[in-house]
């Protein structure tokens, strides 16, 4: 009996793996398009209902949008009569001849027609610069940086504003308008806000109380005030304090207002990124002998900015759209040119406003979605390094 118990114990506990198991592919149910649909769209009754409702919603919206923009749209004509129901005898969609007629105004504002090549050249130079910086395998990206941050601003200013000595007549910024103003305001804001934001963020984390205090005050003050207020102050209150001959250009004032406003937001975004960097990274950098500027430049900021790319781009997108607020201080950005055109008696019809706004919406959407997509691609690329 005791022997039997002993045998039992041995057979129960003794185990030696005779051969290692090799890895097998997963069962077929887990892969394939049909499996995906079943798992993600039709898994439960609630999920099925949700799928149906959302599909119906998408169809309904697409039907309306395509109907207005394409099917019912008016494509030719020379004035408002082309886009009236009494002319086309069915429901009127978008009034494209209006857009065609006003496209130059949407793009250049009141920039003198013989000088508009300068704006075109500016767009081209800007596109080259953006492409050079964003295309990661582009040759000599270091030169691209110099071009974008030093050459381009100077050249653009001379080109757009004019420089009588070299035969470019001065074009007052009052005449600038449309996409030109939107792009100029947004690019200045985008280019200026990141470096200033980084400096402010570092200042706010500084060990020196004065630096920390002034950074905090600036950030909190600017963030605590609506952009509209900043713009009003720049355009209405500043002239009260500064003699008229020294008064800076209105567009320049708006530019500075937007850039500083964006910088304060950027500072908080960057600070959040800095806070996400573990203390060990600072210690590792200090221990190999890197001083503060080297540590920030090579170790801390690259990692902090990487984790904040989504937020940086989010701020950029907000900034890009916020430029439309300059409308209220009488600067003719894209939205304001649309606003002016839509009430033009030559084109005023029930669909003109909708058409104009649709164009503006598409413009903003294309740029903002572009930024968003690029940011996603950058994130994916940078994540490669962290892959295990």
């Amino acid at each position: 009996m005791t022997m039997a118990e002993g045998d039992l114990a041995v057979t129960e506990f003794r185990f030696v793996q005779s051969q290692y198991l090799t890895a097998q592919p997963p069962p077929a149910r887990m892969t394939g398009a049909l499996a995906w649909v079943r798992a993600n769209l039709l898994s439960t009754p609630f999920n099925i209902a949700l799928t149906v409702v959302v599909l119906a919603l998408v169809v309904w919206i697409l039907y309306g949008v395509i109907g207005f923009l394409l099917v019912d749209a008016v494509w030719t004509g020379s004035d408002r009569t082309a886009c009236l129901m009494s002319t086309v005898h069915h429901e009127v969609g978008a009034c494209w001849p209006f857009v065609k007629d006003r496209l130059a105004y949407f793009t250049y504002g009141s920039y003198p027609i013989p000088q508009r090549w300068r704006v075109d050249l500016f767009f081209a130079l800007l596109a080259v610069g953006v492409g050079w910086l964003l295309w990661l395998r582009a040759p000599r990206r270091d030169l691209g940086m110099v071009y974008f941050f030093i050459v381009l601003p100077v050249v653009s200013f001379i080109l757009l504003h004019g420089f009588a000595a070299i035969g470019l007549p001065v074009v007052d910024t009052v005449l600038w308008g449309g996409v030109l103003v939107t792009i100029v305001l947004a690019s200045v804001g985008i280019v200026v806000s990141l470096p200033i934001g980084i400096v402010l963020a570092l200042g706010r984390r500084s060990r020196m109380p004065i630096v920390r205090f002034s950074s905090s005050v600036f950030i909190e003050f600017v963030r605590g005030v609506p952009l509209i207020t900043v713009l009003f102050m720049a355009s209405v209150m500043l002239p009260l304090f500064v003699p008229q001959q020294y008064e800076p250009d209105k567009l320049l004032r708006a530019m500075i207002g937007i850039a500083l406003f964006a910088s304060a937001y950027m500072a908080e975004v960057v600070r959040a990124g800095l806070q996400a960097i573990p203390k060990g990274q600072y210690e590792g950098a200090m221990a190999v002998g890197l001083n503060y500027p080297l540590m920030m430049r090579f170790i801390i900021l690259p990692q902090a900015l990487r984790v904040t790319i989504p937020n940086i781009v989010n701020t950029y997108i907000g900034l890009f759209k916020d430029t439309s607020l300059v409308t209220i201080i009488g600067i003719f950005d894209l939205l304001n040119t649309v606003e002016v055109s839509r009430v033009d008696p030559k084109w005023a019809t029930p669909v003109t406003s909708t058409t104009g706004y649709a164009v503006a919406a598409m413009f903003y959407l294309v740029f903002c979605y572009g930024m968003s997509r690029y940011a996603r691609a950058t994130e994916a690329r940078l994540r490669q390094g962290d892959k295990r």
């Binding site: 060990g280 990274q281 210690e283 590792g284 950098a285 200090m286 221990a287 190999v288 002998g289 890197l290 001083n291 080297l294 090579f298 170790i299 690259p302 990692q303 990487r306 940078l382 390094g385 962290d386 892959k387 295990r388």
Partner: protein, 261 residues
Amino acid sequence: MTMTIQRNAVGKPARLSNPVAVDIVKLNKWFGSFHVLRDIDLRVMGGERIVICGPSGSGKSTMIRCINRLEEHQSGRIVVDGVELTNDLKKVDEVRREVGMVFQHFNLFPHLTVLENCTLAPIWVRKMPKQQAEEIALHYLERVKIPEQANKYPGQLSGGQQQRVAIARALCMSPKIMLFDEPTSALDPEMVKEVLDTMVSLAEDGMTMLCVTHEMGFAREVANRIVFMDEGQIVESNAPEAFFNHPEHARTKLFLSQILR
């Protein structure tokens, strides 16, 4: 010609300018109102290998972190190879250039490759040409037995490999003194040996080392002096043989009886 210069640069540890590597005199430090280091006196001669042990919270990590000023002290003197650590940032940078450190959690730079981790400081702090820095880095990566990982990122390596990269990274600055802050505590058991082997070979080359570690086998084999700390002070210090076989202080005896079973 250049080859011979490099041989010299990467062979033996860099020479100290003084016979005393680290001189700590009456060191006191507080975290807020907590007195973490109390009247520490420790003189480390060039080429010495010192193991610092003690219960957790005894201040051993804090003490060696004071040596390259990752922690500031409030009173007392720390002189590292003739340079006294004060608020003077130039002096601090000077000391950090000459003192290598290895951390419990490696603290490698995850966004840089292994090679870039090793060459960054030589290139930017020592102003070394990139090519030379890479040659030296590869030499040390070979020495810690992972030259084939040079172009990977730290996240792709095992813990033991990462810690060996961290050692190579410190060595690339040709330090005169190496500090180890529990270098094996965060490693899986199977990886401890590869790191300890690297440290042993470093000691054999005559490197001045201060190691906070719980690896008593390593302490016995490599250290020429063991320092036992408790409650922010040095309680006992002795040669390993005497320390392990004839501990004198009651706290030391208790500690050893806890860890050596």
